[in-house]
Symmetry: C2
Subunit: 164 residues, 2 copies
Amino acid sequence: MGLEEEIKQKEFKNKQQRAFLNLIFTAGHLSLAQTRFFKPYHLSAQQYNVLRILRGQNGNPVTIGLIQERMLDIQSNASRLIDKLEEKKLVLRIVCPKDKRQMDITITQDGLEILKELDDKLDSNENRIILTDQEADTLNDLLNKIREKNNRQYAPDASGGNKK
Amino acid sequence: MGLEEEIKQKEFKNKQQRAFLNLIFTAGHLSLAQTRFFKPYHLSAQQYNVLRILRGQNGNPVTIGLIQERMLDIQSNASRLIDKLEEKKLVLRIVCPKDKRQMDITITQDGLEILKELDDKLDSNENRIILTDQEADTLNDLLNKIREKNNRQYAPDASGGNKK
DNA sequence: ATTAAATATATGTATATACATATAAAATAG
DNA sequence: CTATTTTATATGTATATACATATATTTAAT
C-alpha cells in the first residue's frame, strides 16, 4: 500500500515532500515494530543498541561519552540508558580509576546471553527489509544524501526560528 | 558523511541491515530537526500535522477518529493532541449533536494563521530534502516496499516473542 | 598552588509515546 | 423495550525524549 492510501492523502506539494513524509511515516512504523519486538525482553531498541556497542568492544570498558557518540539516536541520554541496563544486571558500571569523572561500562554475561538470544531471533526476521542488495545500496545512498543536506541546515544549535 | 562515519561502525551484517539502520538513524535526525523547527511556535510536528488535516477539510468538522486514521504517527493519541491544540485555541472541539460520542473538531482562525506562517517558513526550507524528482520517487517506492513487508510481519498484535 | 575553564556524567522537568483500561453513547439482539 | 455488544473518545501509567542545569573532576591559566 502506498503512502497515499495509508494516510489517506492524495495531494502532496511535490515528490520531495511525499518522500519526506514517507520517510517519517515508514520510520515510525519500523520503530514501533522494533519496540514491540524488544518488549518481551524488557528492552528498548536503544538499550539493545547500547548492548551491541558494548559487545563490539570485546570486553574493553567503554565510557558513557563513547556510547553516546555511537548511538543511533543522537539525543539519547546514555546515562539513563545505562541506569536501566545496570538495574537489569546487563552491564557493569564502575568509576574509571584513571579519571574519576568517567565511567567504565562493560557488558555482563547476562547481557551477552540476552544479546545472543535476540540475535538469533532477529536473524530469522532480519529479512524484514526485503530489498535486493542494489535497492539497499540505493536507499542507503539516498538517506546519506538527505542527511548531508539536513546536517548543514539544522546544525545542533540552529533553532530554525525564534517566535516568542 | 556516510552512516559508517556517523555512528562509527564499519561493519554491517549486510546491505539490508545497513540500509535499515540508516533509515532509523536518518529518520531520527529528521524528526529532531522537525521538533526544533516547530519548537519556537510551541507546536510539535504531530500537532502541525493535525492542523493541516483540519485545514484540508475546509471548515468541515472532523472527528478524533478520522484524525487518528490520517496521522503519520500511527500510535499517536489524537485525543490528547487535540487537548493541547484546544488549550492554545488553535482548534475548537464540540460534541457532535448527531452522535454524542463523537467530537467535532475544527480549526480556528488562530490555527489557520499559525499554519500560514509555518507554511511560509517551511517553503523556504522544504528543499531540505534535496533530491531530484527521480530520486524522490525511488526513495518513495523503496519505502513503500519496506512497509509492505513490515506490515505483513508485524501486524498490530504480533508480539514477536514472549519471554517472561 | 589557587582560581578559572573545560570535560564527563547525572539529574530535573516538561512533554510525548505505547498501551491498557474506563466511560459514555449508539447499535443490535432477544 | 431492556440487555448486550460495539464504537468513539478519554484517562491512567510507565517509560522515553529533549533540553537545561547541576555536580564532580581534571586541565589550563596566572
